[in-house]
């Protein structure tokens, strides 16, 4: 059984291919059931965003599994053939597939490293897979882990702390001048796209008063309605300056709309309350001579770009830390996956029961010293017979279910019933109650006993009594 991922992303495929493969939400269910209907595909999860289309699956056999999933992808769009797709696809299996999901969830593989949307998209995809029962024991565990890894990365690194868009950089700067944006007034001069975006960010961060002025007053009115602000006639914008804490300028004008004199006058009226001016226009609309004026802070498009570039570097530095976390977490999950292999489980079960039998038989034989060697052999044979019969059913079931879709679940259950090793992370140990057991049964049995284990001991104890 193998966990695999086959997919493509903004790193490997152009948008022309990605948009063809993208599965709209309305068709997710159908796509998932088609995926799971391929022979050999046990579990499936389909992650489709504008930057990536990925299929996570649990398959019986690696090579054929890859083939099936690729076939599935090629089938999603009529104009796509497998040959078309192959150069853009990546394939990962096992730890690498899991690591890939962890990296994607933590936004390490995103176009903008550290963006938070992807985690929500993964949660949605998982939700769909869960409701349509496309995912099972393995994928459920892996995806849940991926979500928790992403959260850990988010809280333990500063990967998502800084602004990586010009419009958001303006908000970040505003917050270094004004600790609380709610009482502040924004004056929007002109309505360039970036300025509108910045205004929207500012509103999202608490700004309530928005004044808008554009050359076309009608347009200004429309915008004012959209931002829940007030439109100001273009001729009046200079008199509005003094009232504005944040001035956002982006017009197509080829000269300075706001001069140093304007700002100086406004600052006098403001009695040196700080003023934050952002000029997103090219050519610039605010005279750079404003810069030296006390308590007026002017930033132009280059300043904002520089800030974004710096933040991007910071994020990459934090990403290196996050990569390390991903490696750690993959190792943890890898251990759990390994424990789900059938053969080692059967071996472990055998040696476990053998060990229990040995101990009980030795104990009873030590007390029955008068027995002849034949009788001793009989006692031993009896113990073996009972123990073997007890676990026989379990072993047969494990072998039979090894190839079925719920094989891993059986293995997991068997390991827990027979306490074959410390429980994997995420599974609380059973609450054992040893109060009714005689002390000798507890002594020397090590720690971490589970009820299942003591059940087995009970049986051998009964056995000993009857023999006597």
């Amino acid at each position: 059984m193998q966990v695999i991922v086959v997919g493509l992303s903004h790193k490997t495929a152009p948008v022309e291919i990605r948009e063809k493969l993208a599965v709209p939400e309305s068709r997710l269910r159908e796509a998932l059931s088609r995926l799971c209907s391929y022979p050999g595909v046990r579990e499936g999860l389909l992650l489709s965003t504008c930057n990536r289309v990925e299929v996570y699956a649990v398959v019986e056999e690696l090579e054929s599994g890859y083939g099936r999933v690729q076939e599935f992808l090629a089938d999603t769009h009529l104009s796509l053939s497998a040959e078309h797709l192959t150069p853009h696809l990546y394939w990962h299996a096992g730890d690498r597939a899991i690591g890939h999901l962890f990296r994607v969830a933590s936004s390490l593989d995103s176009m903008i490293v550290g963006e938070s949307q992807i985690l929500g998209q993964i949660k949605d995809a998982f939700e769909v897979a869960l409701t349509h029962k496309a995912s099972g024991l393995l994928l459920n565990k892996i995806v849940k882990k991926a979500i928790s890894v992403a959260k850990r990365v988010r809280t333990e690194t500063k990967i998502a702390e800084t602004a990586v868009s010009v419009s958001y950089a303006a908000v970040e700067l505003a917050k270094k001048i004004f600790s609380n944006l709610t009482e502040k007034t924004v004056l929007l001069i002109g309505a360039g796209e970036m300025a509108k975006l910045a205004a929207r960010h500012l509103i999202a961060n608490g700004v309530r008063q928005v004044r808008i002025t554009t050359r076309n007053f009608q347009h200004g009115l429309e915008l004012a309605q959209r931002f829940n602000g007030t439109a100001v006639p273009f001729e009046d914008y200079k008199s509005e300056l003094a009232e504005a804490d944040i001035v956002l300028v982006s017009t197509g004008a080829s000269h300075y709309l706001v001069t140093a004199d304007d700002v100086q006058r406004a600052m006098r009226q403001r009695m040196s309350r700080p003023m934050f001016l952002i000029d997103i226009s090219v050519p610039r609309n605010i005279d750079p001579a404003v810069r030296p004026i006390d308590d007026a802070f002017l930033f132009d498009i280059d300043d904002l770009h520089m800030r974004v570039e710096q933040n991007r570097e910071d994020r990459l530095r934090e990403a290196a830390k996050a990569e390390q976390m991903v490696v750690e977490e993959v190792a943890v999950l890898g251990q759990w996956l390994q424990s789900l292999e059938v053969t080692p489980t059967i071996v472990a079960l055998r040696s476990r029961t053998e060990e229990l039998k040995r101990r009980e038989v030795d104990k009873i034989l030590a007390r029955l010293a008068h027995l002849s060697s034949e009788d001793r052999a009989a006692v031993e044979a009896l113990a073996s017979a009972i123990v073997n019969k007890m676990v026989h059913g379990t072993m047969v079931t494990l072998k039979a279910e090894a190839k079925s879709s719920s094989g891993a679940a059986y293995v997991d259950a068997a390991r827990r019933f027979f306490n074959l090793e410390e429980t994997p992370a995420g599974y609380p140990p059973g609450q054992a109650d040893f109060s009714e057991l005689p002390d000798e049964n507890i002594a020397g049995n090590g720690i971490g006993r589970l009820p299942e284990a003591s059940l087995v001991q009970h049986t051998s104890k009964e056995q000993g009594r009857r023999v006597r």
Binding site: I177, S179, R270, P274
Partner: protein
């Protein structure tokens, strides 16, 4: 016992200062927690040292320059811990703890068990010293806020978005802290000066005799009065307020030096 704890406090504040200064330049957030922990322990030992000293010298009943400075340092850290607790403003520690350490080191230089630079008077002197020192704490915090304001203002103006920029709070918060500190400090200093005048009247029969240190105190008082009025009426805030409070604090320091250096040995 007091001196043991006093030395211990000095050691702790020294380590904390080093940590806090390193915190200014490093990205490591844990450094601020370590520094805060050390400062808190230092504050505890300082409290013990102060209490022990009070009980030791109970029969002497006179405040010395050493005690005044030690108390100043203690109050400063108390204010810092309160602000840190409410606002999680770690970087404030990088400015206040060094200041507290400096005042403590100066206090150590004036530590003596018999002769004191302040001559014995009456209990009013305790009131005078306590109130003046509380006022001074307010001005010290205003000074620190002013320094932080000017640094952040400079970084924003020159567009140097470095580690320090990231750690310093918003300009208007610093301006607010500056204002609050003066609003609190000024009435305390006023009461301190009035109680000082009463002490002087009891000792010498005159409220004021305009010795250099008294003159300085009055000049400082007048200066802060102007700063406060200017802020509330004609908008002396932001950068200007930052500069003014830094100058004002320099005046306070000069007054304190005056207290120590004055040769005639009388009080206020």
């Amino acid at each position: 016992m007091s001196s043991v704890f006093f030395m211990l406090t000095m050691g702790l504040y020294f380590v904390s200062t080093v940590c806090y200064l390193a915190y200014l330049l490093r990205r490591a957030e844990t450094l601020s927690k370590v520094s805060l922990g050390i400062t808190a322990v230092g504050f505890a030992t300082h409290t013990v040292a102060l209490v022990a000293r009070m009980t030791d010298t109970a029969q002497v009943q006179l405040p010395t320059f050493h005690e005044a400075l030690s108390f100043f340092s203690w109050m400063l850290i108390l204010v810092f811990l309160a602000v840190e607790f409410r606002r999680q403003l770690h970087v404030l520690g990088s400015f206040i703890v060094p200041l507290a350490l400096m005042s403590l080191v100066t206090a150590a230089a004036f530590r003596s068990d018999e002769a004191s630079s302040l001559q014995p008077v009456f209990k009013t002197l305790w009131v005078h010293v306590t109130l003046s020192m509380l006022g001074t704490v307010g001005f010290a915090v205003a000074f620190v806020a002013g320094v932080m304001y000017l640094i952040q203002d400079g970084l924003l103006k020159s567009k140097r978005f470095n580690v320090l920029y990231a750690k310093l709070p918003a300009l208007d918060y610093l301006d607010h802290l500056n204002q609050q500190s003066i609003v609190m400090g000024f009435p305390l200093l006023t009461l301190g000066i009035i109680s000082g005048a009463f002490s002087a009247e009891i000792v010498r029969g005159t409220y004021v005799n305009w010795n250099p240190e008294q003159t300085w105190a009055m000049v400082t008082w007048g200066f802060y009065f102007a700063v406060l009025v200017g802020r509330l009426t004609i908008g002396w805030r932001a950068k200007r307020a930052a500069y003014l409070t830094i100058i004002g604090f320099a005046g306070v320091i000069l007054t304190l030096i005056g207290v120590v250096l004055k040769s005639h040995g009388s009080v206020s």
